[in-house]
Amino acid sequence: MESSAFKGYRGLSLDVLKTNNAEVWSDAEIYTSKGVYKGIILPRSETADPLHIVIKLRSGYNIGIAAETIERIGITGHKEANYKIPEKEFPFDPKKPNVKLLGTGGTIASRLDYRSGAVIPAFSPGELYGSVPELADICNLETEKLYGVFSENMGPAEWRGTAEAIGKEIAKGTKGIVIGHGTDTMHHTAAILSFMVQDSPIPIVMVGSQRSSDRPSSDAALNLIHSVKTAAESDIAETMVCMFGPTSDEYALLHRGTRVRKMHSSYRSTFRTIGDIPIAKASRTEITPLRQDYKRRREDRNVTVNTAFEELVSIVYYYPNMKPDIIDSLIDNGYKGIVIAGTGLGHVNKPVYPALQRAMDKNIAVYMTVQTLWGYVQMYVYDTGRDMMELGVIPTANMLPEVAYVKLGWALGQTKDLNKVKEIMLKPIAGEITEREPSNGYLIYQGGIPEVEEFISRYRK
């Protein structure tokens, strides 16, 4: 990588800067064949082309100047950006509960990265207090940065580390835990933490943001307020996801960690409870339970942390005309468990059967979920389902595919005995399988229907 004096520049643009001794953050006058430009030379994104030099004009706008047109560069000064959220010491109030914020990454707190031109996470109690001072009205906040990764890079090692960190906090007597996390795989982590950390005496609240906190309209601040409020004050001692209910800045929903899923690539209200209703609503002022069957907060510090995990587990998303070689390749690569997201009630086509037979022969655990997300696997209705069960494919009721995936890894981490694995898989631990689906557990109202439109016109989206 080029030194920070010419951060991000390469090729022709780097040559031009070097020839003219013009480092980034120089206040410069750039003479080109088109005329003169005045501004501060900025670092360049590494993914951008090698042909332009970026300057910030006096007006605050940035432009790129074609390096090939540059005749010379005069330097008049130096102004380096010091991107720092004003840091203030987070106040301590002995009357307020202690909450711990564990950071794993994501855009809940972020700043600009000049190398990639993208947003990268930043995080400390002081910074958080500087940007969301309301948090101090709720609790005494401590933070610990466990990881600084994008959500897609969270994996078994990070899950284990997070579960262990939670265990330590509970042992210390912390009153609530908030976990900052990228949103893309937040529901995977929520599910595995629901299994790895059992019978927590306190709320474990996962939170993120759909709009990074470098935007005035970010949902980050309100999400933090809602999640910290939940961790500090709610009596719900479960692993939850706390994200926007509507897209408006109004309230959050607290979703059970095993029933939640990200359902839109960019909406603020992307997280939904699938096949059930959320546990509660959280606003700046109160937590309103929507159901009563949740685990209550306790005063003890007892918790079971079990971080076993077998990494050789996969999800196979079935599609018409799938060939058995997909399953075969998993078998050949030594996979120990396969979760299938089947069509409809839990189906795959006949040509795949021989591969499933081989999987059974090799002592590989194969579980069936539904790609419809809503509803139960029911393999008795059609012959194909029964055939598959004979091949050893085990239906997982209404467990979500991603949840079944992490649970199978967790179960196989504990035992090689497939009967014991089956016992663990099918015994609900944290609401991942429910006995019944309430009639309001599946509500995807269809736009365009007059009564739906009327509803939308009456309540803020």
Binding site: G35, I63, N82, L112, P216, S248
Partner: protein, 633 residues
């Protein structure tokens, strides 16, 4: 500063403006004529007050790229407004509501912006970087406007000198405000995201009329491309004004150019008078360092008042605060603009920053007219320990709002000892202006991390340059040499038919009739209620081909257009043959012979008229007149 008192608007001379050091520049916002919006694929230019749903958001300040907070951003955050967006499904998608990242920039809009940049003689930008310009008033749901510089450093000729074009940017339009009351502001979102260019001139205009002139020139120039929107709200001016010793003040969103002279006059006067106020304060020994003020709660003291606004406030549980401004006696009555006084500088601030939107929101101890009784004033003065040369300002609101208000009164009063605070101000109907917000600085700019930089290849610029229209002022010079009537010149030079005109005269059509047909006829027909938007270049081409081919007479053009608008059929009206003409003349002559006329001397004129009603467009008037022996002057 020179001794000078502003005269009434009509009496001000250029020398007066030179004396106060009047300087003004424009930022002209012009919507582009594209089918779709700038960063999403919603239709552009569809307006409706209908809405299907509402979304509520708040705005928070964030850091600039260089790691600083913007002053305006912090001010807006102080106001803590609930922002409500009304959304109409047909005009808004999830992008505008900040629930979907931007799509790639609208290339049509970019082409138009490049074209206009070249018309200004600017250098175009090699690689476009999209920036986020923060607006925390909620007028854009993201909290920022996506904007980018397209061209820099151009100029346009004016009065034998040059007006600098500092920059041209391409950006998305904002929401339309519906209401702003207390802590709730409501916006319509239909206009949001439409492509807009902003042209920034240098501070090169030296009188209010010059500002309007240059505004007209810029508008004509962009209109001449035929690629910008016209009509109400499609172009809006921000006007920057300063006087010697004053500050650059931005008057936002002036919809009509004819309003500019009075607005800039009042702003110049305001700055001049604020500077004189500073002089007065310094004479009284009140400098930024010596400035003294304090405030206290006087709710209990004044709870029996009969002054309705305060009585009402107390009954609603509000709090009343009294601010003492040391040595400020009579200064809230200091004139700032026409019929406007320093007290309004304060009241305006409270309206915006403390959300005290119900007016009056202050009373002060030097106010004329009935407010608080003199016995109440005495009580208050005693309680706050006021001296005779102090001024007391009373304000009321919720505990939080009244606290913000009392502090803001002190902030604004102290600013008077410094000079003219940097603000953006809103244009009011009477030609004065009111506080809108603290002037934002470059700190509110942030690179848009959602979109990569975009290279503009040299070939794209060259192609645009090849097809570039001649600047309208050059066209006007040519038209003058062709003896086109003055009133038509100015319209033809920016008409979408200007190119057609050139083609027609190349083909041998006489310039004056061509210009009349292209400009005057549609105008006449529009006045008669016809929808002249149906008159395309093709229609004119067909008619003029008929004229060149000798199939029709010049006189027929107007009637062909009229028939076309009435029936939708483009039919060439063929000239009448001499036999027909003679028959008609004979018939009408016979008829008129048997009619008694009021004024027999006019017989031939009447005859001429009667004959022509049968021959509209089918015969030359000159020939008919000769045939019936009408003497022409």
């Amino acid at each position: 500063m020179p001794e000078f008192t502003f005269k009434p608007f009509n009496e001000m001379t250029d020398e007066d403006y030179a004396l106060v050091g009047f300087k003004s520049g424009l930022e002209v916002h012009q919507q582009l004529f594209t089918e779709k919006k700038l960063f999403c694929r919603c239709p552009a230019g569809k307006y409706s007050t209908h809405y299907d749903a509402e979304i509520l958001r708040h705005m928070r300040p964030t850091l600039s790229e260089l790691g600083e907070y913007d002053g305006t951003a912090l001010m807006e955050f102080k106001t803590k407004k609930n922002i409500i967006y009304r959304i109409h499904r047909e005009t808004v998608c999830t992008y505008e509501m900040d629930d979907t990242p931007p799509f790639l920039i609208n290339e049509d809009a970019l082409d138009i912006a490049l074209e206009i940049g070249l018309l200004y003689g600017c250098k175009t930008v090699d690689e476009i970087h999209i920036a986020r310009k923060q607006y925390l008033d909620g007028s854009i749901p993201t909290g920022f406007q996506r904007t980018s510089i397209i061209a820099l450093d151009g100029k346009i000729p004016y009065k034998g000198r040059e007006i600098e074009i500092i920059q041209l940017s391409l950006e998305e339009d904002s929401c339309r405000e519906v209401s702003d009351y207390g802590h709730e502001r409501v916006y319509l979102t239909d206009r949001l995201g439409m492509p807009l260019i902003e042209t920034v001139t240098g501070p090169d205009m030296l009188t209010p009329n010059e500002v309007a002139d240059v505004g007209q020139i810029l508008r004509k120039l962009v209109k001449s491309t035929g690629k910008v929107r016209t009509g109400i709200g499609s172009a809006r001016q921000d006007v920057n004004v300063s006087v010697t010793g004053g500050t650059r003040i931005e008057i936002k969103g002036v919809p009509k150019i004819i309003n500019i002279p009075l607005l800039t006059y009042n702003e110049a006067m305001r700055q001049w008078n604020l500077l004189r106020l500073r002089e007065e304060l310094h004479n009284r020994g009140i400098t930024p360092d010596k400035f003294e003020a304090r405030y206290e709660d006087i709710t209990k003291l004044i709870k029996k008042t009969h002054y309705h606004p305060i009585k009402d406030a107390i009954s609603r549980g509000f709090v009343v605060k009294c601010v003492l401004l040391k040595g400020f006696r009579e200064l809230l009555n200091w004139k700032t603009q026409t019929d406007t006084y320093f007290s309004r500088e304060i009241a305006d601030r409270l309206r915006v920053i403390a959300c005290l939107t119900t007016i009056p929101n202050i009373v002060h101890s030097d106010a004329r007219g009935e407010t608080i009784s003199s016995s109440d004033w005495l009580k208050i003065k005693k309680s706050v320990n006021a001296a005779d040369d102090d001024c007391l300002v009373i304000t009321w609101g919720t505990p939080v709002d009244s606290e913000t208000a009392a502090k803001e009164i002190i902030i604004r009063a102290r600013e008077a000892t410094i000079g003219v605070p940097s603000e953006t101000r809103q244009a009011l109907r009477d030609g004065t202006n009111g506080f809108e917000r603290i002037l934002p600085g470059p700190d509110r700019m942030y690179p848009d991390t959602d979109l990569p930089p975009k290279k503009i290849p040299a070939e794209r610029i060259e192609n645009t340059r090849l097809n570039l229209a001649e600047p309208f002022w050059e066209k006007e010079n040519r038209y003058k040499n062709l003896n086109i009537p003055e009133d038509i010149i100015s319209e033809l030079s920016v008409s979408p038919f200007a190119d057609l005109f050139d083609k027609l005269i190349q083909k041998g059509i006489a310039p004056v009739p061509a210009a009349i047909a292209l400009i005057q006829y549609p105008k006449n027909l529009r006045r008669k209620g016809y929808d002249v938007s149906q008159l395309s270049g093709e229609v004119f081409v067909k008619i003029f081909e008929g004229l060149i081919g000798g199939e029709i007479l010049r006189e027929a053009v107007f009637y062909i257009l009229k028939n076309y608008l009435e029936t939708g059929n483009l039919e060439l009206i063929k000239p009448a043959c001499p036999t027909v003409i003679n028959e008609i003349i004979k018939k009408e002559t016979d008829e008129i012979g048997s009619t008694k006329l009021y004024n027999p001397k006019n017989r031939n004129i009447v005859l001429m008229n009667n004959v022509m009603t049968h021959l509209r467009g089918r015969a030359e008037g000159k020939i008919i007149a000769d045939l019936i022996g009408l003497e022409r002057n």
